[in-house]
């Protein structure tokens, strides 16, 4: 494996970026001089790197300015829906939760074990539980503008807070299932998640700079999609790229994988809604 020079170690403790094989002595990559950007230090915690570290400078600029970040179109929708009555019980989110700021810190622990179903729940599952159980409203589709807007709006309340999912107690078997998924080769290309996202972050795969595949920026506005999208949509896209059969968004398989991926992201700041390539 290639190793980095010492040129930019002033930005990060020695060895932090040891896996970033494609980075030249002067910190430049095929994506430009992205490793000398002082902003990355807030997106590196211990040996964990947010996808921000592998984004271009222009993408970072777009994420950091709420007026430039296209995800805020959906955030505005989520903000509207927060106060809007819906369903047979005539309630809005605000009717129970009050001001959205009351949810600060809530989203960073998801996915979380849910007694009522005996499985893991992602934030989307909880939103729909609120809608069907406590509002008497129809559930939203996983990838609908309403769901993306609401999850982005709720996660925005926790922006900058460290991801903090638990894999203890009843969550353990689901964590193990997600971990097994991550290390399972699949598809015609016979690749497992770890082969790119543990073994080769910082290396180019054709025109794409590989990241650690962290989940702390989702829902994320992806330039390729020209849309905000869920982490499960990203999983399905990765699975299709390796010519594997994807699972459904919201499935147990992807929710358990989300738990594993978010556990890997523990400690990184919540960046949702982030912007990525």
């Amino acid at each position: 494996m290639r190793h980095l020079g010492t040129a930019f170690l002033g930005l990060a403790a020695a060895g932090l970026l040891a896996a970033a094989g494609a980075v030249a002595q002067d910190g430049s990559t095929a994506y430009g001089d992205i490793m000398n950007d002082p902003r990355i230090k807030d997106h590196i915690v211990g040996d964990k790197h947010s996808g921000f570290v592998y984004a271009t400078l222009a993408t970072r600029d777009m994420q950091e300015d709420d007026f430039e970040n296209p995800a805020f179109t959906w955030v505005s929708l989520g903000e509207e829906l927060w106060d809007k009555q819906d369903g047979a019980m005539g309630k809005s989110c605000a009717a129970c939760h009050g001001a959205p700021e009351s949810l600060r810190g809530v989203s960073v622990v998801y996915p979380k074990y849910r007694e009522s179903t005996g499985g893991m729940a992602a934030l989307e599952h909880i939103v729909n539980e609120c809608r069907t159980e406590r509002m008497g409203a129809d559930p939203w589709k996983w990838e609908s503008d309403q769901m993306l807007g609401m999850t982005a709006f709720v996660k925005l309340q926790s922006r900058g807070m460290p991801i903090d999912v638990s894999i203890d107690g009843p969550a353990r078997p689901f964590f193990e299932s997600g971990r097994d998924f991550f290390f399972q080769r699949r598809g015609q290309l016979d690749l497992a998640c770890n082969m790119c996202h543990e073994d080769h972050p910082g290396d180019m795969i054709r025109a794409d700079l590989l990241s650690y595949g962290m989940g702390n920026g989702f829902p994320t506005y992806r330039l390729k999609w020209q849309k905000l999208g869920s982490l499960h949509r990203r999983f399905a896209g990765c699975n299709k790229n390796i010519r594997a059969q994807p699972y459904a968004r919201g499935s147990d398989e992807y929710t358990n994988l989300e738990l594993f991926v978010m556990w890997r992201s523990n400690g990184l700041p919540s960046e949702a809604p982030a912007v990525r390539r």
């Binding site: 080769r185 598809g187 015609q188 016979d190 080769h200 290396d203 180019m204 795969i205 010519r243 594997a244």
Partner: protein
């Protein structure tokens, strides 16, 4: 690792291993693995290096550039995940090049490199790709012929 001794193994793909969900493995052509190589043309005839170069570039075919740097300066982005293929034609005999394309896991079970001529032993292959190889036997030969041209003197 495989022994370098001349172990002649007949690989009849239709019978090899658990066939998983891919039932059409028997449709593949037979080939013989000798040591870490496949000495004979998969298609029965030599490949064309020009076509092989095109297959190496095409994203929906070989897409070798996804992972490997190659001496193809007219293509902008080259992968950094696998070894640089400049000079590979001098480093590896033709039979080993062929095996690395057909199924590199025979030589190195841990490699992340896909097998370009294999349908068995895979997990959850997408519907459109079930029972299909990434490359045809002739495309395999074309890529082998192209890689042979990547010698140290080029």
């Amino acid at each position: 690792m495989r022994s370098k001794a001349i172990t002649c193994a007949l690989v009849v793909l239709g019978l090899a291993g658990a066939a998983a969900s891919d039932a059409r493995a028997g449709d593949l052509v037979e080939f013989f693995v000798v040591g870490n190589g496949i000495p004979e043309y998969l298609s029965g005839q030599p490949g064309d290096p020009e076509r092989g170069r095109a297959v190496a570039i095409q994203r929906k075919k070989g897409n070798c550039l996804a992972c490997h740097k190659m001496p193809i300066p007219d293509q902008q982005y080259h992968g950094e995940v696998g070894p640089d293929l400049a000079g590979v034609g001098s480093r590896m005999p033709e039979s080993e090049l062929r095996l690395r394309i057909v199924n590199p896991k025979i030589a190195n079970p841990a490699t992340m490199m896909p097998a370009f001529y294999r349908v068995d032993g895979l997990h959850r292959v997408g519907k459109a790709f079930q029972g299909k190889t990434i490359l045809t036997p002739q495309e395999v030969e074309d890529v082998v012929a192209y890689l042979k041209t990547l010698t140290d003197d080029t």
